[in-house]
């Protein structure tokens, strides 16, 4: 019974990750980040002349473009696989 359950969880990672689940992970991550920030020090983002805001902005842009690249990569892999099967 126990084994079965763990297999089920394990199986999750074997399936190709859907875009939706990626987004949900990202959302959870963001929520966690926001909570962590609220708990620790509210002035962290305002320190050193608010330079961390710039860091945040650049990171958001970079991460989004990377996620888009990953999605596109998966699309191409699927295409390649289909082409091989034909």
């Amino acid at each position: 019974m126990k084994l079965n359950k763990s297999c089920h969880i394990y199986g999750l990672f074997h399936q190709p990750m859907k875009i939706g689940s990626v987004l949900i992970f990202l959302l959870l991550f963001m929520v966690q980040l926001a909570q962590a920030q609220q708990e620790s020090s509210p002035d962290y983002m305002r320190s050193v002349g608010k330079i961390y805001v710039v860091a945040g902005v650049t990171l958001i842009i970079l991460i989004t473009i990377l996620i888009y690249l990953v999605i596109m990569d998966r699309k191409i892999s699927r295409l390649e696989k289909r082409q091989k099967n034909e």
Binding site: G49, V53, V54, I60, T64
Partner: protein
């Protein structure tokens, strides 16, 4: 000479893509590492009574007071030429100094509040300004001798900081660098939507499904850039305007623009027939792009906004962007637009491959 038997090198990149890479590297380096001009971030105490001597402890940002501590001058300015000069300036360290002022007991103008602007000048590092640094409560006296103190001194011989530095703005501080990351997102979005509308027009003229695929890819990537502009703008707004969303005109209008194009994507998914979908989305796309012009360029100019350059002026003029910033901002806009076109190109090439296979 190209050998006929050998296929063309598949790895060769177009020149404009190299340009995009180089420009963006330049933008990232210049955007992140060029320092700010010196600024003042704090003064204590921040209020005092007229007719009193006050010693202000000034906290600088990016300042090097120790470089020439004897030549630093300080003024407090109430209005245009009502200025008092510091009696003495003592430098504590690079970031802190103490300036002693005598505030005359008579105030030259009658106002509800008396906010004073602090101005510092240093030959080696240039000048810095902090508006509303000190508030004065009036004393009930009338003395013309005291009155004359306001007009005795003039601000003169202000030094300009030489070299490549970004201006220091009080609430913005380092976040002025976001000009190279947040603002070009919108430029890229508009250009991508424009290219998409152009391909819709081409579909309207020639009816080739290839144009339809291309135009939808440009909308998709344009939406991503718009979303990035929105999210980065929200983060920036949180730490400068204190709210993620302040219901500012430009925020609202850009959100609506994204809604319009999100509707475009929904429209595409809800039509099955390929020709029908292409025709409907081409029509809607051109219609939407034309309506975007009043939405993004005319309505925001008619209302007050927290964004710079509103209430009549175009955004990127005058004081908001000095020459140093222009040297990075214009390349940034071009670089991000090229990157957007590049990503869209990848997207539509994938889509075209998928269609043909």
């Amino acid at each position: 000479m190209q050998n006929a038997n050998q296929p063309a090198k598949p790895s060769s990149l177009a020149l404009w893509k190299w340009a995009a890479i180089l420009i963006l590297i330049y933008v990232f380096i210049a955007g992140w590492f060029v320092p700010l001009k010196p600024g003042i971030i704090g003064v204590s105490p921040d209020k005092t009574v007229a007719g009193d001597q006050v010693v202000l402890t000034v906290q600088g940002y990016n300042t090097y007071f120790m470089k020439d501590p004897d030549q630093i001058r300080a003024w407090l300015r109430l209005t245009g030429d009502t200025v008092i000069k510091a009696l003495r300036v003592e430098v504590v360290d690079d970031r802190h100094l103490k300036a002693a002022f005598y505030i005359p007991s008579v105030l030259p103008v009658r106002q509800d509040a008396y906010p004073m602007t602090l101005i510092l000048d240093q030959p080696s590092e240039g000048s810095s300004v902090l508006p509303n640094a000190l508030f004065i409560s009036p004393a009930s006296e009338t003395d013309s001798a005291e009155m004359a103190l306001w007009f005795k001194e003039k601000i003169g011989n202000i030094h300009q900081q030489a070299g490549m530095r970004y201006p220091f703005r009080n609430i913005l501080a380092e976040t002025i660098r976001n000009t190279y990351f947040h603002v070009p997102m919108w430029f890229a979005m508009i250009i991508l939507f424009g290219i998409s509308a152009w391909y819709s027009l081409r579909y309207y003229r020639h009816g080739s499904l290839r144009d339809d695929v291309i135009s939808s890819a440009f909308v998709r990537v344009g939406l991503i850039f718009g979303l990035l502009g929105l999210v980065t703008g929200m983060l920036w707004a949180k730490y400068t305007w204190n709210e993620y969303w302040s219901w500012d005109v430009k925020q609202n209008m850009s959100a609506i623009a994204l809604l319009i194009y999100a509707a475009f994507m929904v429209l595409r998914t809800s039509v099955e027939d390929e020709m029908q979908r292409a025709r409907l989305s081409a029509g809607y796309n051109m219609f939407a792009f034309v309506l975007l012009i009043p939405l993004l360029f005319i309505i925001p100019r008619m209302t007050d906004s927290l964004h710079p350059g509103n209430g009549g002026n175009p955004a990127m003029g005058g004081e908001d962007l000095d020459n140093t910033m222009r040297m990075v901002f214009y390349p940034a806009v071009i670089g991000w637009i090229l990157l957007g076109i590049w990503i869209s190109q990848l997207a539509y090439r994938v889509d075209l491959l998928k269609r043909n296979s």
